[in-house]
């Protein structure tokens, strides 16, 4: 990992990967690198929380290690496990060879070669690395408590092997969709960043950067439409991810620009609830397009 010594540098590195950040996020990422603290990302779905981790990995030229959380996730899925079949085989082989030294056998059985590293352990062992703990709010509170030690000390204790510590702590990004209140003890160890929906200018820049093949006019129109949709009272306001989907969809249809009619028939790329689609139909697409048209 090359050294980074200012938020501007973080920003320009991230921009090279096509991920555009504002001051706040650039500073949060810089502090994460400098203070070795995880970044805790909250915000509506589709605003680029998960994408931040892959952008950071690319910017730092480090592998991205991803842990998708779900209910009931535990240490053997997240941290490490033992390779039982191989352990048993080893035991049988030792027996066949007439090994009688039980203590030695036991030591061998819990050797590193039988250790299966799961994402968290892999992140500690891989240097440098970017660790994404995605949707932490889906895991249960037992798992949160378990993460606590790992994320503050960047070390784990495996009873049979002892304590493993990362020489260079991984850069950690945690995301949450706020389906559940994450415990303050965990948040306290993190840098908190709330993701807003981007304004017109930045969103347009993101679309242009991520989808260079889409015509400038189409990108501008789609961005304007999404911004207008967000102002409506929708169940699920579209995120940047949906803006990109919509632009991609229209581009795939061969459109260089979009009119009200085309916008309505492709609404499915942006809105995922029937109620939202109904409500959006009431929006004056033509007026929005005219506002940004020329």
């Amino acid at each position: 990992m090359t050294s980074i010594d200012s938020p501007e540098q973080v920003r320009s590195r991230l921009e090279q990967t096509g991920y555009l950040v504002d001051d706040g996020l650039a500073i949060a990422c810089f502090l994460a690198l400098r203070l070795h603290r995880p970044v805790f990302c909250e915000g509506d779905a589709g605003v680029g929380k998960t994408a931040l981790a892959s952008a950071l990995a690319e910017a730092l030229d480090a592998p991205l290690i991803r842990l998708q959380c779900h209910e009931g996730i535990d240490a053997s899925q997240a941290l490490y496990d033992w390779d039982f079949p191989r352990q048993l085989l080893h035991l049988r082989a030792a027996e066949a060879a007439g090994v009688r030294d039980a203590e030695r056998l036991e030591r061998e059985l819990y050797d590193r070669r039988f250790l299966v590293a799961r994402p968290l352990l892999r992140a500690l062992q891989t240097q440098p690395s970017v660790l994404l703990v995605d949707e932490i709010d889906r895991a249960d509170d037992e798992f949160e408590a378990f993460l606590l030690e790992l994320l503050s000390e960047f070390q784990v204790t495996i009873p049979e092997l002892g304590t493993l510590r990362a020489e260079v702590p991984p850069v950690v990004v945690l995301t949450s969709n706020r389906t559940r209140e994450v415990h303050d003890a965990l948040k306290r160890r993190c840098l908190y960043h709330w993701f807003d929906h981007p304004g017109f200018g930045r969103e347009l820049a993101i679309v242009r950067r991520r989808l260079p093949q889409v015509s400038a006019r189409l990108a501008e129109q789609v961005t304007a439409l999404v911004q207008a949709l967000r102002a409506e009272d929708l169940l699920k306001p579209p995120g940047v991810a949906e803006t990109l989907d919509w632009a991609r969809a229209l581009d795939a249809l061969g459109a260089n620009e979009v009119d009200a009619e085309l916008a309505v028939v492709t609404l499915g790329s942006v809105l995922k609830y029937r109620e939202d689609t109904d409500r959006a139909r009431g929006l004056d697409f033509a007026a929005v397009l005219a506002g940004r048209g020329a």
Binding site: S6, L35, E95, R188, Y192
Partner: protein, 414 residues
Amino acid sequence: MRNTADVTGPAQDRRAGHTTDARAGRHGEGRRPEGDAALLGFARALRAAGVAASAERVHAFLRAVDALRPGLRTDVYWAGRVTLCGDRDDLERYERVFAAYFGTDGTPARPARTTPPPRPRPVLREAPAGSRTGPPGERRQGPPTATLASSAEVLRHRDVAELDPTERAQVRRLLAAFALRGQPRRTARRRPARRGDVDPHRTVRELLRLGGEPALLRRHARAERPRRVVLLVDVSGSMGPYADALLRFAHAAARGRRTEVFTIGTRLTRVTRELSHRDPDLAMAAVAEAVPDWRGGTRLGELLREFLDRWGQRGMARGAVVVLLSDGWERGDPHLLAAQMRRLHGLAHRVIWSNPRKARPGYAPLAAGMAAALPSVDDFVEGHSLAALERLAAVVQGAGTDAAGQVPGSWERS
């Protein structure tokens, strides 16, 4: 306020001058001590405004400012924001305190848009009548756009801690009776069990312990956990006689950790944290402090939508047992309530409506709100007495109701 100059001063110098100088000094002489004092003072002001900026967070704040350009307003702003705040609700306060403490200088650090306004902003439907009943000193300003379902919103803090001995006795009985647990459901977590799938960890450990001799297979099974319970307690005027008892019921219920409690009146207020006081009287006092709208009118539909938008759809209502404790007197649009109830029904495992008026002789769910909601209600139960609340607890735990809403047979609490 006297420290303001320490931080804004260098910031202005720097903006006017060269960008590299301040940075060069960072590792050298470091921050001036009075700069630290200013930052600590800011953290204190933030705490006073209700942001839980613990010592640990403040320490991180100082380190963060050190790592950045301490003289620069933007950097101080963001360093504080990412280290001292822990929740979206903190951001608005942070914004305010930062502006007050470091002064609003001509060029704000960033267009200060932290939180987008909560989306479902109620619209003014009925003109607020001028007659406020509270003394003028106590008057609290509601949000300017808040609609008033009743003719006057009564924004008066009610001291629910003052109860007569009979009520206290009743509360003790309630407390003894209810630790409301949701219906159990299987989770993805496993625990050792006598039957179930083979547990490779424990089996192999056993094998290894015996030096490879065949051993008993160890098994594990899915653990069970109670479902989350969400209580929505109506505290509007028409529910006045019941609100105390229902909130104390909610307090007892919230002792099971997976229970969330909201009050609905003219506003939606989350009171789970307030109810976490073990002492019921303290808890009630905290709730009285937090809930601004005792005895106002009800806008069930709009508030239910707010609940679903802000909490429910994100996951709080998903797979949960949701209980509405309300008489269903909707002063708003019943179609909206019906639509939101359908939405809730789609998310929740079970929707239970407990109506204290249901026990009245000749009651029929004719109130527009109740009638609109009923098609999306799984269990419609009474809620006027201790016995009724006991039945409600049984229904939450998974005892079904028959068509008439009665719990069949008797039940035993474990």
